[in-house]
Symmetry: D2
Subunit: 315 residues, 4 copies
Amino acid sequence: MLLAALLASSLLVQDTVRFTPTIQQPTFEVREPVLRVKPNTVLISNTNFGPYYTEQDGPFPGEVGPIYVEGATTGDMLVVEIIRVHPNYKYAAAKLYPDFGGLAADNRVRMLNDPNPAARYLWELDTVAMTGTTTLPNSRLRQVTVDLRPMLGRVAVAPRGAEAFSGLWPGAYGGNMDAPEVRAGTTVYLPIFHDGAYFYFGDGHARQGQGEVAGTGLETSMDVVLRLDLIKGKAIDWPRLEDKDYIMVAGSARPLIDAFRLAHVELIEWLEQEYGFDRWDAYALLGQVAESSVANIVDPNYTVVAKFPKRFLPR
Amino acid sequence: MLLAALLASSLLVQDTVRFTPTIQQPTFEVREPVLRVKPNTVLISNTNFGPYYTEQDGPFPGEVGPIYVEGATTGDMLVVEIIRVHPNYKYAAAKLYPDFGGLAADNRVRMLNDPNPAARYLWELDTVAMTGTTTLPNSRLRQVTVDLRPMLGRVAVAPRGAEAFSGLWPGAYGGNMDAPEVRAGTTVYLPIFHDGAYFYFGDGHARQGQGEVAGTGLETSMDVVLRLDLIKGKAIDWPRLEDKDYIMVAGSARPLIDAFRLAHVELIEWLEQEYGFDRWDAYALLGQVAESSVANIVDPNYTVVAKFPKRFLPR
Amino acid sequence: MLLAALLASSLLVQDTVRFTPTIQQPTFEVREPVLRVKPNTVLISNTNFGPYYTEQDGPFPGEVGPIYVEGATTGDMLVVEIIRVHPNYKYAAAKLYPDFGGLAADNRVRMLNDPNPAARYLWELDTVAMTGTTTLPNSRLRQVTVDLRPMLGRVAVAPRGAEAFSGLWPGAYGGNMDAPEVRAGTTVYLPIFHDGAYFYFGDGHARQGQGEVAGTGLETSMDVVLRLDLIKGKAIDWPRLEDKDYIMVAGSARPLIDAFRLAHVELIEWLEQEYGFDRWDAYALLGQVAESSVANIVDPNYTVVAKFPKRFLPR
Amino acid sequence: MLLAALLASSLLVQDTVRFTPTIQQPTFEVREPVLRVKPNTVLISNTNFGPYYTEQDGPFPGEVGPIYVEGATTGDMLVVEIIRVHPNYKYAAAKLYPDFGGLAADNRVRMLNDPNPAARYLWELDTVAMTGTTTLPNSRLRQVTVDLRPMLGRVAVAPRGAEAFSGLWPGAYGGNMDAPEVRAGTTVYLPIFHDGAYFYFGDGHARQGQGEVAGTGLETSMDVVLRLDLIKGKAIDWPRLEDKDYIMVAGSARPLIDAFRLAHVELIEWLEQEYGFDRWDAYALLGQVAESSVANIVDPNYTVVAKFPKRFLPR
């Protein structure tokens, strides 16, 4: 399928670039690019930064980038077509942190209660059968095997202005949205706040539950194939996603209801601008056909993906 | 399929009861029952209260009940197996209210902004083809047709203590959860706070989007077939749901994050109590396999359904 | 001072009624009145329900009422002038509950963390010197003495419609607002949702911190003197308060920001309706002169009191 | 009083430094210092950046800094004693923004409603009488005069790690807390995340209401006298404040309840660490004596100041 996809798009692309990252970045911001590409470039790369997900453990990896997209301006939209995200290592790791997690008090949601225990779950990956297996040390079910659903936790441009957000943050610039929808077959459209866009990606999850409730996905390294392109002359405010079934907006904010509303209001504005819907008709219709998923409730901003089924769009 | 289901369960049931409701109730509370049934009763009934969903419009209907379940005590769990929920009228109605809705300021989420306009969308239902069609008066797409996915907005017992909540409220007693998962094929388990349980149902939606963001579903009257039963000697705190793929908990609270956490914490406690999971193993696993849906963000409490795929349960 | 106040108002009042409550109510709702009074009645009563605040401990007391106010209609406003709230017992009690409190996970704000410990602090009251003293069993400071600031946690009318809320709830009908501002010298204006108003009061706190963060105030019994009156032909939506320095609105909701906004938006609408402010001028002015206090963050709804200094009102 | 304060502290200070800022910074972050001072330095400076608050209007000013404090390490605490904050210009400005404000939908709290109108209020300041006067163009009260209560919206160190937050953000590093408590007579203790601390200050408000609900205070330029010092060997996590009556913690987060809890939990930890309180005794006591103020509900994080009256501290 990858080959087919590559062939299909090869007629259109100007360039295929192989890039082996050697630097991982701690923040999303404008900095010296590690690569410059033309619009409509297929980028073949990876997120091979350890040792977080090895047997030995280690610090959480940063992201790859920034990649400067020639000709990108703040009046345009960056197109990130996700062609392939595939785990390339034998392990993934998931942790419980006492100061970071969604269902327990943590360092942003402070309570007087004692913190939860720390724990680490090493998952063995079968990247052919696409399964992952781990041990649950204290449960009747001692071993659990899940099917893999690889995704990228982070796709981003440099944020607006002079700000620099650590890799944990999602926002209007994308970032650490931790949305399972950011997978092969999805195209992400990102706003551009600086000429050149300064694209980043990283944080591969071999699988992740909705909400990423315990704080991490199955963190591992990934082979990544992306097509980077521009839609000229059309600016957007928040990341948009599209796959064969849905148009979607990823809204990131705290509290959760603000992320939820933001994503849906932006989706309605998309329906108004591109598809001729009246604002209130779109609202009323969304009441009957909207779908949504809570991507994460652990990051500095929570992320909600609001979805409109394409079958209800005008032809 | 209804007949098959009825036949399949007929070997086990003690009773089949046909009940035609004549009173609609304004609140969930302990009051004189309209019906008394034995455990393991198939109830064949409807929610035929208008005229909200007619061409003429009218007040929003209340709920059917309470039904007293003989032998139900506060140490038990009420089983509500949803066998059939089928629209039985040619129209459904959906409205925009200036003081009630999820993506605009309303009478609980107060802002200084001007309120949104009121509007009413009458949907024509084809209850054989199972489609609904309405006009979008101000949009390029003038008419939209959707497939119907009938559900019950409300299944409830009388709330704890002496409280009486209007039909708009969801809570630990179930109530107006507006969860699309409350449909044929799902079994809802409700806590029991008073001997006899005092079961209520109503608020049929021919279809409803996740979040019920504009304030209503496709409100219409329904034919309803439910099996009411007890699981003796097992008390629960919040509504649990089960279908062929998932065990689920419906948590209702404001703010949204509290509904989200409540549903997931209760789900983990279910995994601990019934399936031998360690609390923190379950948390970690949920990080990779949890699914969830935001049922409503408009009612006095919001509702989130947290889901655990049955294929990851121990055999 | 009490006598002076009584004398001062005696020229105007139609009636002085002494009422010794014998029943405590579990909910705010329309029920058989325990007393009927005319408008402009001084009510001399108490909240003498134990044994929660005795040495032996016991269940939390309910509220006194309902009191039917003759001639009250839904087009009027109930006036509750608080003349005296004075502790009349030698003890007050404050507790920590594992399932109820503001700075730890509880049964509405669910987390996976272990709950906080239960504890009870018995406070000795000197109702002449107006001080309270307790022991802090595990702290360097073994004994602490505070000045008393008596208040009523609950003043209410019967809620709208057929609903019945337990005494823990605050809302548009007043209820368990736990606002320290509800003290002698303050007049509370309550909406009326049923003819007769059905007034309730109770929940004396000899003192309470802002936010009532640990779940209770210094709970004790109180001598209470209130003047009940009507302002005819003027309906309000939420409780208003007034003392010599401020006009105030008490907004109750979850999440906290919604209580905060509700109280301030209602305050702005008061400034518009009664004092000739333009909506946006009032908003801008509030940005410079608004004061507010968080009354409680523990009840089913949180309460915020928004305050406008009277010295900035037009003469 | 200024002279007295200066004289009183002159026996202890090593240095008095006059600094006239010429650069305003767009973010809080580690960057080339504009000044280096020794610990225990009295800094005499100002925030004279226009033209936001002039008759002509203009962009919002940035902050002064960073100031490198010699010898400051991440194991220490920065002491910012606020000796004087005094408006030095004849005008202050306050604005309503359609995309920024606390009581209306804005660009972080998105709703479908129409946005509020933009407006600008120019206030004439009398910096001797310490009053400010503006016109309310559409209200019965055409002119309003308020007493001035000057404060600094922003005191900050460089944030943890490599992050850079725009001047709108408050956080663990202080920043744009917009707390009226940051005024002459208050000492602010800030955490240090980088050797040298990198201190910033700015955003003078001649007056500001609690919550800064409309989005700005009376923004103007200030004469500022601060004493900068270190407490060696004592690290803190969040800004602490102290004046003659209170010890306080400023917690900044969204949602509001998280800012509220954070501030109070940190305050309890302060009571544990410095004053020998048991955690649960402190919690219980806070229930009766805590005070708090909502500083802002408009910035990217909201800020709450939790206060413990010093008279209840052990001697």
